[in-house]
C-alpha cells in the first residue's frame, strides 16, 4: 500500500526559529522516506521562498494528510476547518497570555486567540503530537483524542567540544539562551546574579542570548540590571549566529534557566549537549526535559538560585555527574536519533495507526 502524501502547514516559516528548523528537518525526513510532501505557509522568510508555497494556493487531494504546526493564531486554522483532508496537529505549545498582558497586550491577545483555535481544531483533528508531556496534557485537556509525545527536531551537537571543568567559586560565567520575553523570566536571573555578586561570588557575570521582541520588557531588564548594580556584569547578546552561540556555551560555567513557561525548553538540552551544568526551575515542561541531568529547583528566590550555583562550585563531583547525565540525555535529541523516532510516529499516525 502506498503512503499518503503528508503536507506541512506552518503559519510563519523562518530559518532562524525553532519551528522553522523543525519543519525543514521533517521535510527532509519525509522526502528520505519517499513520502510526497510540500510546505504551505502564511508568511515566509525571503530565504525560504523556494521551499514553500502560500496555503491559499494549495491544491490538495482528498487522500492527502495535512500536518499543522500550531503555536500561534492564524487564519490558516479557520481554513483547515473546511478542508476534507485528514488533519494531524504538531503542537509546539502556546505561551500563557498572562505573561504578555503587561508588556505586549497585542501579543497576549494573539495567544488567547491561538488557544481558542487550539480548542476549535480538536474535533477536526485525527491525532496530534506534542514535544513534552506538559504540552500533551494541554492537548488532552482541550479535547484532542489521540495524543502522542514525540521528539522536537533541533540542532543538538553529537559531541561536547567544551572540556569538562568545575564551576569556579569566583568569577563564574552564567548563561541563559532564549528570546527576551516575560515568560522566560530573565529578570529573575538578573536578580539572582545581583545576589551572587553581593554574596559568595562578587565577580560572577551573566550572558543573556536571545532576540529582543518585546521592547518595553527589554528596557525594564536593562533598568533592573542598572538598579541592582549589575549593569556592567550582564551582557545582552541579542540573537547571534550559530558560531557565536557555540562560543557562548563553550565559555559558560553554568546554564541558569528560571523560565516559567516552556513547551519543551530546547536550550536546556543544548547546554547539556555541550557539557554545561544546568540549574533550572521546576516549571512547565522544563523538569521533564531536564530529567535527572540538572539541578531542578522548586523555588526561584535569588538566595536559592545563588546557593544552587554555589553548591555546584563546591561539589565538582556533582558537576561531573551532571555532565555525564546531561550528555546521555542530550544524545536522545541528536537529530540522527530523534528524527527517525518522530518520522515513525508520524507515518504511523498518517496511515491511521
Amino acid at each position: 500500500m502506498s503512503r499518503p502524501a503528508i503536507h506541512q502547514l506552518v503559519p510563519s516559516f523562518s530559518p532562524g526559529d525553532a519551528i522553522g528548523s523543525h519543519v525543514r528537518r521533517l521535510r527532509r525526513l519525509f522526502e528520505g522516506a519517499g513520502v510526497e510532501t510540500r510546505t504551505f505557509v502564511t508568511v515566509c522568510h525571503p530565504d525560504l521562498k523556494a521551499e514553500c508555497e502560500p496555503y491559499q494556493r494549495a491544491s490538495l487531494r482528498p487522500t492527502d494528510v495535512v500536518l499543522y504546526h500550531l503555536s500561534c493564531s492564524d487564519a490558516m486554522a479557520g481554513w483547515l476547518l473546511d478542508q476534507p483532508q485528514r488533519l494531524l496537529v504538531d503542537y509546539h505549545n502556546i505561551t500563557e497570555p498572562k505573561w504578555f498582558d503587561r508588556w505586549a497586550p497585542l501579543a497576549a491577545h494573539d495567544m488567547r486567540l491561538a488557544r481558542l483555535q487550539l480548542a476549535t481544531l480538536a474535533s477536526r483533528t485525527e491525532a496530534a503530537v506534542a514535544h513534552s508531556g506538559f504540552s500533551a496534557d494541554e492537548l488532552s485537556a482541550n479535547g484532542y483524542r489521540h495524543v502522542e509525545v514525540a521528539p522536537l527536531l533541533f540542532a543538538v551537537p553529537d559531541h561536547a567540544d567544551r572540556p569538562a571543568r568545575p564551576v569556579p567559586e569566583r568569577g563564574a560565567r552564567w548563561l541563559f539562551v532564549g528570546r527576551l520575553v516575560p515568560n522566560k523570566c530573565q529578570q529573575t536571573i538578573i536578580g539572582a546574579l545581583a545576589a551572587a555578586r553581593r554574596g559568595p561570588d562578587p565577580e560572577a557575570t551573566l550572558t543573556l542570548v536571545g532576540g529582543r521582541t518585546i521592547g518595553p520588557y527589554v528596557e525594564e531588564l536593562h533598568q533592573l540590571a542598572r538598579a541592582l548594580g549589575v549593569g556592567e556584569a550582564v551582557r545582552f547578546a541579542d540573537h547571534i549566529p550559530d558560531a557565536e552561540l557555540d562560543a557562548a556555551y563553550r565559555d559558560a560555567d553554568v546554564f541558569v534557566c528560571l523560565s516559567r513557561h516552556e513547551g519543551f525548553g530546547a536550550p536546556v538540552v543544548e547546554a547539556m549537549a555541550r557539557g554545561v551544568p544546568v540549574v533550572a526551575l521546576r516549571a512547565a515542561a522544563v523538569p521533564e526535559t531536564a530529567g535527572d541531568a540538572a539541578l531542578v529547583l522548586d523555588d526561584d528566590d535569588p538566595a536559592v538560585v545563588v546557593a544552587a550555583v554555589r553548591h555546584l562550585a563546591t561539589h565538582p563531583q556533582l558537576v561531573r555527574r551532571l555532565r555525564e547525565a546531561g550528555l546521555a540525555r542530550a544524545a536522545a535529541y541528536v537529530p540522527e536519533r530523534a528524527g527517525p523516532v518522530l518520522l515513525e510516529r508520524l507515518l504511523a499516525l498518517a496511515s491511521g495507526g
Partner: protein, 141 residues
Amino acid sequence: MPAPTQATAVARALGEAVVLEALPGSPDLADVRRALDRLAPIEVTPGDVRTALGMALKHATLNPHASVASRHPVITRLKLVVRKLTFFVAHDIAVQVTDLAHALLVAGSATADRLELLEAENARLRQAVEELQGRLRQDDR
C-alpha cells in the same frame, strides 16, 4: 565521597540558602526581591475592571524614542539619524496619543466607580426585598 544525587543537592542548596542569609553580615536581598516583585505579571481576572485599568495605565504613556539597537553599527547610526529627523512628528503624536489614553483611563475609572456604586446599591436593594419577603411570609402564617 560519592557525588550527591540531584535531589540531595537541591535540598542541600535550599538549606545553604537559608543558613547563608541568616549569617551576620550576609547581604540584604530585600531590594532585589522588591525589584523582582515589581516586574511580576499582572493577571486580570474576568470582571476585574480596576486591575485592567491599572494595566492600561502602564501602556498609556508613549515613548517617542524608538530603539536604535542593531548588531550592525552602521544600521544603528542610520536609525539614529532617521529618529532625529522624525522626532518632532513622533513626539507630537506620542503626546496626543498619551493624552487620549489618559483621558480614556479617567473615563474608565469613572465607569468602574459608577459600576461599583450600582453593584452596592443592587446588593442593598436585594437585601431589602428579601427582608420584606421574609416579613410577608411571617404575616401570612
